[in-house]
């Protein structure tokens, strides 16, 4: 494994550990947020976004270049109807199932095997999206 992928793996392990620590790997906890019974999810997303913002806007600027070379590019997308309509469709799916891509994948590490069918369905949904994009 090259240096880059080792760092991606370590970062991914932290990511998955944090999702499990915060309960996001449990669809019931995500649904309790979406049913406005437990608002904790806001602190997960907010905490992660704040740390990312500090890295992207402060540390990266001091550092100038990624340690392994290349250049820093903040993640920005041009607003379009696809992005908004996609967000609506994602929202319906998230509200029905309590699953999003990262939390569903991490959930496998907790032995939550029913989400395998959810992840398979996500692949099918992404495949259908690809079919329409030709």
């Amino acid at each position: 494994m090259n240096k880059r992928n080792i760092v991606v793996l370590i970062g991914g392990i932290l990511f998955g550990f944090g999702l499990a620590y915060s309960g996001m790997t449990k669809q019931e906890i995500v649904l309790s947020f979406l049913q406005l019974e437990d608002l904790g999810l806001i602190f997960v997303l907010g905490g992660a976004a704040l740390v990312a913002a500090f890295a992207i806007n402060v540390l990266a600027k001091l550092q100038k270049k990624p340690v392994l070379g290349g250049e820093f590019k903040p993640r920005r997308r041009i607003l379009s109807w696809s992005i908004i309509i996609g967000a609506v469709i994602f929202g319906v799916g998230w509200g029905i199932s309590g699953q999003c891509p990262g939390s569903a994948v991490a959930s496998l590490g907790t032995g939550n095997f029913p989400v395998l069918v959810g992840i398979a369905a996500m692949f099918i949904g992404a495949y259908i999206r690809g079919l329409l994009d030709s």
């Binding site: 990511f15 944090g18 976004a49 740390v51 992207i56 820093f72 920005r76 967000a87 319906v92 309590g98």
Partner: protein, 153 residues
């Protein structure tokens, strides 16, 4: 509002953010999740939309990232977890129908809770802010309707 307290949420979120920050500062990559589906499909589908250069270039590290997520959650389950190995009681039809819409919607939207939510907001992207407001608002309305219809869990 916070029956389980705030600590697990805030600490977990910060750990997620440190993982994202580490990957960005060392490699310049944004550790986002939903592209994983598209790049992984490039191993299985010959269609042009999956065979884009960017998909081929990214599929290796995106699979590595997904593997990391599983290992990280497994480590938590074996160490600090109060519940240990755990299985959801949410009905299978919800996981399947929801999963289909999540897969389709996140790819149409070019981002999910991590892409728009963490890396996008972290990049101060207005597009991502609008996306997060839309998918979170729609998800809250959807989950509340499902609950009102008496579906549980």
């Amino acid at each position: 509002m916070f029956p389980l307290g705030i600590e697990p949420y805030l600490v977990g979120g910060i750990i997620v953010g440190v993982g994202v920050a580490l990957i960005y500062l060392v490699t310049g990559l944004h550790a986002t999740q939903s592209s994983f589906f598209t790049t992984t499909l490039s191993w299985f589908s010959k269609r042009k939309s999956f065979q884009k250069d960017s998909n081929i270039k990214e599929r290796g590290w995106r699979l590595t990232l997904a593997t990391g997520l599983v290992i990280g959650a497994l480590i938590h389950t074996l160490t600090l977890s109060h519940t240990g190995f755990w299985t959801t009681s949410v009905q299978l039809w919800r996981l399947i129908l929801g999963g289909l819409l999540v897969g389709f919607g996140t790819r149409l939207s070019s981002g999910c809770t991590s892409g728009h939510g963490i890396s996008g907001l972290g990049s101060l992207s207005l597009t991502s802010l609008y996306s997060v407001i839309v998918f979170m608002g729609v998800a809250i309305v959807t989950a509340s309707i499902v609950q009102m219809l008496g579906v549980s869990p």
